[in-house]
């Protein structure tokens, strides 16, 4: 991604091109989260010999992949200046629906969650773009609504539907290539598509414009309603897909998933350099943000014998340190 952060892309005015050092510096600044990630991985590898093993890194990758898929949709939503709190519930709903529908075959197990979760996104998008209700409230209602729907499908959470081991979708969720799970490859592919969509299409330009200034975007003839509805549908679809694949991996539609996930997702996106006020951000930053959270979690486990309370303290401190460093890096750039 060459122009990952449109808003803060620093282009030196000097007639002579930037020096090599300046360019390297600029790169680090534009990808603050990635820089912190590299740093953290380096420290982790140095401190724990069990950290840089293939099995452990593969574990981080597969665990992060589901969060990443959801975060991809959230990135689009946040760049338009919106927010989607419903993703955690929709993620869980997608999983339960997939497990419920697998009785009609693996295709149904994929399509039903996509259809329902996409519809959730559609309704939310319409309420936000057409009726002009605040995204926070609409998606908060979505959070409750999706959880309620999930509970009613599963007898108040008492029934867990299972996905048989042999089902095609189970093999997609559980299989791996070169020791890395299929979902990881799928996530990578989705991110490439997402990056192209955001940086290299008119749709992506509209997304940035709306987040940068909704009034101006409207004056400039950006299709406001269509674009906004599209990002919420995308967010719903991706959360549903992630949920379905996660269910496939777990072989069951676990009902207790996804609570509080929305905050993790938002954190990942924002740590990745996307502005919550909209108008700036990048898909690559989100990858770094998601991986940062995954690595932090993994490192805390590596430390080992921490009590759960201390674990929380440490991960809060980690988070604070990471965002301070990341903010500092991107601020230096803004001042120049």
């Amino acid at each position: 991604m060459t122009e990952s952060m449109t808003a803060t892309a620093a282009v030196t005015e000097a007639a002579a091109g930037p020096t090599g050092r300046e360019r390297a510096f600029g790169l680090i600044q534009r990808h603050g989260a990635a820089a912190v990630l590299v740093l953290l991985v380096a420290i982790g590898s140095f401190a724990f010999d069990r950290f840089p093993t293939g099995a452990n890194l593969g574990n981080i990758a597969i665990t992060s992949s589901f969060l990443a898929m959801v975060a991809l949709g959230m990135t689009f939503v946040i760049i338009t200046g919106g927010i989607d709190l419903s993703v955690g519930s929709v993620f869980a709903l997608g999983g339960v629906l997939a497990a419920y529908a697998v009785r009609w075959g693996s295709l149904a197990a994929l399509l039903l969650p996509l259809a329902v979760c996409g519809a959730f996104g559609l309704v939310q998008g319409l309420l936000i773009a057409r009726v002009r209700l605040a995204p926070f409230i609409v998606t908060l209602a979505g959070l409750l609504g999706a959880r309620g729907l999930l509970l009613s499908i599963s007898n108040e959470g008492a029934t867990t539907y299972l996905i048989p081991r042999g089902a095609v979708i189970a093999r997609v969720g559980q299989g791996s290539l070169f020791g890395v799970g299929y979902p990881v490859y799928l996530t990578l592919a989705l991110f490439v598509v997402g990056a192209v969509l955001l940086q290299r299409t008119r749709f992506g330009q509209s997304v940035y414009a709306i987040g940068g200034s909704e009034d101006a975007a409207e004056l400039m003839g950006v299709p406001l309603t269509r674009t906004k509805v599209a990002v919420y549908v995308m967010s719903g679809l991706l959360a549903g897909l992630a949920g379905a694949l996660n269910a496939a991996r777990l072989s069951s539609g676990v009902t207790i998933l996804g609570t509080g996930m929305e905050l993790d997702v938002i954190a990942a996106v924002v740590i990745g350099g996307t502005l919550l006020t909209g108008g700036a951000g990048s898909v690559s930053g989100t990858v770094a943000g998601v991986l940062l959270l995954g690595v932090i979690q993994n490192l805390i486990n590596q430390i080992g014998d921490l009590s759960s309370s201390y674990q929380q303290v440490v991960s809060g401190a980690f988070l604070a340190a990471v965002v301070v460093v990341q903010t500092y890096l991107s601020r230096v750039q803004r001042l120049r």
Binding site: A141, L144, S307, A320
Partner: protein, 323 residues
């Protein structure tokens, strides 16, 4: 028409203001509707006892929401409020041995400390509020549990318990505290330079800086106030629960508070704070929950109904929260 209003004397009750007032009507209308429905379908709804219960339960939410409303007024958000309540409830029993006052002060100081950290990250480092406060949202409860040794502790100090259960002229103390704070916060927002400045910063930060406002100081203070108010709520909740339960006290409080603020007509993108609207927003949510519980609806249905009612309420009040 108002065509010759080239220079209108500064009357405080003109039409624009009246209309802005009418836009608020949505939340109040929703509350009124819900009360009427309840009178019709809920047995024993119109008793004094029930009224007390609803007010006592909503009081901590209202108090936290005030802090949240101020933060949101600056175009920020404070996710750490629930953790602050946990921290407060964890600190109080530690110092009860010295007496109630030191214990409560310790609890409040915990909130102030969290506010200072949040505020510094936002104002001086320039971290986005949602992530700045997320750090203590995660870490704050951890600290609380560490402080409390992971323990739930019963509280026996009668003076402290009275904070939660005694009444003043028949009105439960937590409700009195919330009412007093309503007046205070309203005065702060309307009558102090701090109140004026914080909405200005939320409305246009660059312009505020250029107008010489102490932007950083105000931001810092706003988060401190939010932390302090959350700590007050935590103290009251501890007294009412008669126990210190840092693992679950204030869970999801940030969502309740933000919802109350937004349903009450304060826009999330700052520049405006509605104090009475916030109270109304909190009350509305409390009534919705109470109604659903009293009618013993299954969790699945209750959640969906709640979603619909929240949407309906903001639909009725829409315009108020719009730019």
């Amino acid at each position: 028409m108002t065509t010759e209003t080239a220079a209108v004397p500064a009357s405080r009750f003109d039409r624009a203001r009246l209309l802005a007032w009418l836009q608020d009507y949505g939340v109040y209308a929703a509350i009124a509707a819900l009360i009427l429905v309840n009178i019709a379908i809920t047995p024993r709804f119109l008793t004094l006892e029930n009224l007390r219960t609803q007010l006592v339960q909503v009081a901590p939410v209202v108090i936290v929401s005030f802090g949240m409303a101020l933060v949101i007024g600056t175009e920020g958000v404070d996710l750490s409020v629930g953790s602050v309540m946990a921290l407060t409830t964890a600190l109080i029993p530690l110092y009860l041995g010295y007496g109630v006052v030191p214990a409560v002060v310790a609890g409040l100081l915990g909130g102030v400390a969290v506010g200072l950290v949040n505020g510094s990250l936002v104002a001086f480092v320039g971290v986005q509020p949602i992530v700045a406060t997320l750090a203590l949202f995660v870490g704050g409860r951890g600290i609380a549990l560490v402080v409390a040794g992971g323990q739930l502790k019963d509280v026996h100090d009668q003076t402290l318990l009275d904070l939660g259960s005694s009444s003043l002229a028949g009105i439960p103390l937590p409700v009195v505290v919330a009412a007093v704070l309503t007046v205070v916060v309203m005065a702060v927002v309307r009558r102090t330079t701090f109140g004026r400045r914080l909405v200005a910063i939320g409305g246009n930060r660059t312009a505020s800086e250029l107008s010489g406002l102490p932007v950083r100081r105000v931001l810092l203070l706003v988060y401190v106030v939010s932390g302090l108010l959350a700590a007050v709520a935590g103290t009251l909740a501890t007294a009412r629960l008669q126990a210190s339960d840092p693992s679950s006290l204030g869970l999801l409080m940030e969502l309740s508070a933000i919802t109350a603020v937004v349903v009450g007509g304060t826009p999330l993108n700052g520049g405006r704070v509605r104090v009475l609207g916030t109270v109304a927003g909190a009350l509305l949510i409390q009534l919705v929950r109470a109604t659903l519980i009293k009618h013993d609806l299954a969790d699945s249905i209750a959640q969906m109904v709640q979603a619909v009612i929240i949407l309906a309420a903001v639909y009725a009040a829409r315009g108020a929260g719009r730019r």
